[in-house]
Symmetry: C2
Subunit: 357 residues, 2 copies
């Protein structure tokens, strides 16, 4: 697609790129932003023109809805560069569709595929030099929408801003992490917003995560809030368990995010002939499996990290270390290598997931 | 307190007040703001200078934490003017303390009483003409704090902004409302953030409330998310039920806000010799009471509205209308008149709740 195909996009290029000042080898996740961003405003019941312009601060009224009533949703995506310098997106329409599901639950307007997907592609064309080649390298993409209407009336905003910003990324976590299974705190209610990528889901996790970190763990495995027995997510990721040679993850629900990485891993695992079960798994299953020596692996799955391996978990003040596993025997490593290979075009994409910009 | 007592407050007055352009008789709640606002920034582990300056828009990075991860809390308070033109706050330290409880749960910094309460008083001195006399009139006060650190890393912000804005208010709701009892959606999880005034609690309510409104009701009575039987809050308010001559409200919990209006009404009711019970009330209690003709009143309680009377409720597609009640027999009316009388100094404040600025 060329920049010219979307006639109603307004494009204002930066006068001077800052790319030469970036140390891409040592960039810290989510801290550096590319030259341009996409901005689009919703007002009087309709989205306006897509503006692509230099990345920079914006003005907001102190009474803007997002500061008080939290209408804010986002997506996490990545763009990859292959050996031919072509830039690829991974299942972008999945993110667009999920964004609109989040929008519906948060009483925010739907956004069309042109503004979201084609807008993103246009932005990436402009900032394609920010997508670095090489294993683990990507340009992290953050589409988000916020309520901007001024006024401290407790109700949905009538004005919104859709925005996409880009941030060069290497790997998110390094090494395996220890997790704590939540016994008191929780991230989602039945009939709540747990399945959406709304800002409130994240703010509520920070304090329990801080307590877990003070106790020596890096992340929390979230359980259902009613019984604290069902294992639902790990930190901000979906969570997988390998018991013997069966790979298990919870079904998506009102409380659990329908992760693009999660569903892609399930498809890859099935295509590799692995025994995959999508079912609720409870703490007692885990304790029994580790006692019997049957619990082989636990890992989180999400766009930022792809796969984050977990080396052990604490439950009721007792820590359980998983057995060491060689990389060549690890489902986590195999799935991560395969998924990243598909994303960067090093492995043939038989699933038709990648999309060239 | 004079402006001079706080030496490290910086005060920049507006060049021209906009007060003459305001139609105070017809102002819509939460849409008009006074001449000045209070702003204070947290950075490197400490709060900076309190700045009082002209109300206006501010600049934020598009990657600011609040837009993505939702660290945002607020309070709702009011200032009242008595017949001698003195301006009064109502239990401001309760709001300050609750603000800090919200801050802790949302992994945000505590703020000191000087910046919050004395800062507010200094701001109100400057904008005291915005506090209008007369029944139902007040200046609505909105203290809030948001995470401002730029970066799309899923974790707590290291920088925050505390801000207070002021908005002239008449009554919030007019007339009695019909409500729908939530059977599927919910506002709070066990181990979640329901008891805090964080932005995410509000955004999650808008969609279910919109569905209730489309079905002909103005608000939702929220139930516990596990069983959908316990009646917990009404819209953004605490909720009271009068069965025969007993006034009942749910105990505060992790899921229920510790409302200042709620606790003040409980104290007033006890001082009037009413039979008050703080206990969980379930849907079946309500259905039984209305069948027997014992359900006399339902009302919500909160700062914005003081008391909002409810004329009937829908449950499982059946609507139940409460019996008509004369104002002189209504607990809601009596409690509202008493509380508003105390707030505006028309009735002697035997509780020592009011504080002159």
């Amino acid at each position: 697609m060329s920049l010219q195909t979307i006639n109603d996009f307004s494009i204002q290029k930066t006068e001077k790129s800052k790319i030469d000042s970036i140390d891409f080898e040592n960039v810290k996740f989510g801290t550096v932003f590319s030259d341009h961003m996409l901005v689009c405003h919703y007002k009087d019941g309709a989205w306006g023109q897509v503006e692509i312009k230099p990345y920079g601060p914006m003005q907001f009224e102190p009474s803007s809805n997002v500061f008080h009533y939290g209408q804010a949703i986002f997506e996490g995506m990545k763009a990859y560069k292959d050996d031919n310098d072509d830039v690829w997106l991974f299942r972008p329409r999945e993110n667009w569709e999920r964004f609109n599901k989040s929008a519906e639950r948060l009483a925010m307007p739907q956004i069309d595929e042109t503004r979201f997907v084609d807008g993103l592609k246009t932005l990436l064309q402009l900032d394609r030099d920010w997508v670095q080649k090489g294993k683990g390298n990507a340009l992290y993409i953050r589409p988000f929408m916020i309520g901007t209407h001024p006024g401290v009336v407790a109700g949905p905003s009538s004005e919104f801003m859709f925005c996409i910003i880009l941030s060069p990324a290497r790997t998110y976590y390094s090494g395996k992490v220890k997790v704590q299974i939540a016994e008191h705190y929780s991230r989602a209610a039945n009939g709540g917003v747990g399945y959406t990528k709304c800002s409130g889901n994240y703010a509520g996790q920070f304090y329990p995560t801080k307590l877990a970190q003070e106790a020596g763990y890096q992340q929390v495995i979230w359980t259902d809030d009613a019984t604290h027995t069902k294992l639902e997510e790990a930190g901000t990721m979906n969570v997988f368990f390998r018991i013997n040679d069966t790979l298990i993850t919870a079904p998506t629900s009102e409380r659990i995010l329908d992760g693009v990485t999660r569903k892609s891993l399930l498809d890859i695992a099935k295509s590799k002939g692995l025994d995959v079960q999508v079912k609720s798994i409870v703490v007692n299953d885990l304790l029994e499996a580790i006692k019997k020596g049957e619990l082989k692996e636990i890992f989180g799955a999400g766009t930022a990290v792809t796969i984050g391996q977990i080396e052990g978990f604490a439950y009721q003040d007792e820590y359980h270390q998983l057995p060491e596993i060689a990389d060549e025997d690890s489902y986590a490593v195999m799935l991560k290598e395969t998924l990243q290979g598909i994303q960067t075009k090093a492995i043939e994409d038989t699933f038709n997931w990648t999309e060239k910009i």
